[in-house]
Symmetry: C2
Subunit: 428 residues, 2 copies
């Protein structure tokens, strides 16, 4: 039987990882597919010493790959959303199956690209874009297909999770750990994309669509990063029995879809709180299977290549027509449900205030909270005899509007110094 001919666009960490994996496991993959998967062409700006390109046609023009009649499957591993968009459009238009690891591309242009793939009768797969080596797209779209999913919550950015883990373990500041993460190669020189939650937002956008069958709405997602979390917040959270994790959370309720990325207090005893370092995990609440969780490395050459190659194997086994809709729901059944703004949600809240040691300060704080119908579930006051002392509060579940109004009044008190830290709490 003829080999399956693969064209690789982009030869950075992921591209080289895929070439290596296809070569190393060629025998094992042939045992699983009955076919030989052969990289016939690589388009890249420069060669990569991490992989052996002997016998592969290497070109500097990535568009030559998508226009190569000999190529069956195109791998888009260049990243970004401009050239990548044009490249994928042209590949699909040329009748090539496409596998991408590009979450930004799918989150922002997925709906149009899936329509293009459908009209061209080819596959467009993207498992590698979300949570690295964890087959989470497959788990939701196929493994849990019999369920009505109610909530999905994930640690889907390894950089943020590494920083939070180190901050808690060693009582260090965000800025301090960030420098270490950059030195280790876990964070970019400009870390905004990871630590401000944008990367997680791309991934959650896609996960929400395949969980609930709603169009991709990256424009409507609420995003908050970890740069304001302090080691003091970590300690108070721990005293309350929680850990701080950066989560992407999406739910489907009667009013619509919640779609939010933010630091979150998670009970220490829950498995999600045990996911440390650069590891990722996605929790799915569904009506029949109940709670399932998927854990693994969220980035890196090997894990990302694992998912890219799994997508290629799916295409090869199914000969490109597996009958599985790209977002798990048939296009005609997609529902443009309202995406709730963050102000329309409600959560329990963790608050931390720095207060001056004056008589009656606690009474004034409680009174403001009470006026907004916010109950205090627990409260820790430390070093109360110091001139400036921290107070940490856990509230019951309250509307976002109420806490915003209360925070403004709390911050206006003479005894409250600086802004109030506020982190949402999620129960699992």
């Amino acid at each position: 039987m003829d080999s399956v001919k693969i064209g690789v666009c982009g030869l950075g960490t992921v591209g080289a990882g895929v070439v290596n994996l296809l070569q190393r496991n060629a025998g094992e993959i042939q045992r699983k597919t009955g076919r030989h998967l052969e990289v016939v062409q690589v388009g890249c700006r420069r060669d990569n010493a991490d992989c052996d390109l002997a016998g592969i046609d290497v070109v500097r023009d990535i568009f030559a790959v998508v226009n190569n009649p000999a190529v069956d499957v195109v791998l888009e591993l260049i990243g970004g959303t401009d050239t990548a968009l044009a490249l994928v459009q042209q590949a699909l238009g040329n009748g090539k199956h496409v596998v991408t690891a590009n979450k930004a591309l799918i989150a922002q242009h997925g709906d149009a690209l899936f329509a293009l793939a459908a009209s061209a009768g080819v596959s467009l797969k993207f498992e590698a874009g979300i949570a690295g080596g964890i087959p989470i797209v497959k788990a939701i779209r196929e493994g849990l297909a019999g369920n009505t999913i109610t909530r999905l919550a994930g640690i889907i950015n390894g950089t943020s999770n590494f920083i939070l883990t180190e901050m808690e373990a060693a009582n260090r500041s965000f800025a301090d750990v960030l420098v270490e993460a950059q030195a280790l190669g876990y964070a970019e020189a400009d870390p905004t994309f990871d630590v401000e939650g944008i990367d997680a937002a791309h991934k959650l956008t896609i996960l929400s669509s395949i969980a609930f069958g709603v169009p991709l709405r990256f424009d409507a997602i609420y995003t908050e990063g970890i740069s304001k979390i302090t080691a003091e917040d970590m300690r108070f959270a721990s005293e309350f029995g929680y850990r701080i994790k950066h989560l992407g959370i999406t739910t489907k309720g009667k009013r619509g879809i919640e779609l939010r990325v933010h630091p979150t207090l998670v009970e220490k005893s829950h498995l999600l709180a045990q996911v440390n370092g650069v590891m990722n995990a996605v929790l799915v609440d569904s009506d029949a299977a109940g709670q399932t969780l998927y854990y693994g490395a969220g980035a890196g050459a090997g894990p990302t290549a694992s998912s890219v190659v799994a997508d290629i194997i799916d295409i090869v086994r199914n000969q490109g027509s597996d009958g599985i809709p790209n977002l798990g729901f048939v296009p005609a059944a997609m529902q443009a449900l309202p995406i709730l703004g963050i102000h329309e949600t409600q959560s329990c809240q963790y608050l931390r205030l720095s207060v001056l040691d004056r008589p009656g300060v606690l009474a004034r704080i409680s009174s403001i909270l009470g006026q907004h119908n916010i109950s205090i579930e627990s409260l820790i006051q430390k070093d109360a005899r110091k001139a400036l002392a921290p107070i940490a509060i856990m509230t019951d579940e309250i509307p976002e509007q109420a806490i915003i109004a209360a925070l403004a009044e709390l911050e206006a008190l003479d005894e409250v110094i600086g802004s109030v830290s506020r982190i949402r709490v999620e129960s699992f």
Copy 2:
């Protein structure tokens, strides 16, 4: 488009769960498949008040279901391996796709049944047989298909995990917790199948085949249950930094396949050690994705139905020909590698001895271990002044033969009372 016509054989907990799920999520499933999945016939000894059979043809002869020309997909949910085997054979022979939740049937007769399904050109799916609602078969067979898998370790029997969790949490005996598990419906009146590891062995047999592409060898698996574990072992394990979990472990090495089910010490900090109660989890070590873990409910009507319905949806979407080999490898590529006997393996070991308080007893124990080239990694001696005191030892990695010989000599010492407890240790 015509509906997909489903015939259900068996209407116990799982059968009723599947009927309920197909009815409850009919709309959501139609959004995902474009088809209506309709239960047209149920074969069962008696009706089940837990589900609504209105409009469904209910028959007392399950073979009528597999012979019904109107049925497209047969669900084998009767359990056992005699009638179930005949039923599935006849269904496949009649050209019906079959979905089963029967791990014993697949572990013991899978190879022949898959060959029959292939020759009939139909699907035989079994996700629900292993780890309930966790889509672990799909994860390994498809999601990790680009990897060479090196080891798989799972908590795959909820009853045993519930008992061990309670024993540790409340310092209770095996016998005591077993009674509670029976009262809660987590253990059968005759619990042998679960607590002696047979159920886990069925599941591991299947997982090993799809991980490594080896024929199903239930006859060759090593199986040890949890009935000899004591609360004292739990406490010592904890002092060494471990928890005792009942694991199925399969590895592929140069000499062959290890295939073993037994209580195992797992480091407390590892995610597998955090899987409590009736929950299941499967850890996979693979060359590209690294360590991934899949967690969820291992049994019960909902989780099992989730996997049964996912299999039906796969069949419907792919119109029965998804190109995915039943065991993940094309039949011609299956390799009958040697299955290593337990005596050919090696592990670190936990030992617990009851010793009389006599001078030099520790020296004699160490001497025997030393003669067998067994190094002591750590040792805890408690209440040494009592007449009869326990000693717990953690060894380095040693061949099974060495520990068996050493145990015989240790038990022959006058100062060692009763038999020596011995539990294998696994590092992740």
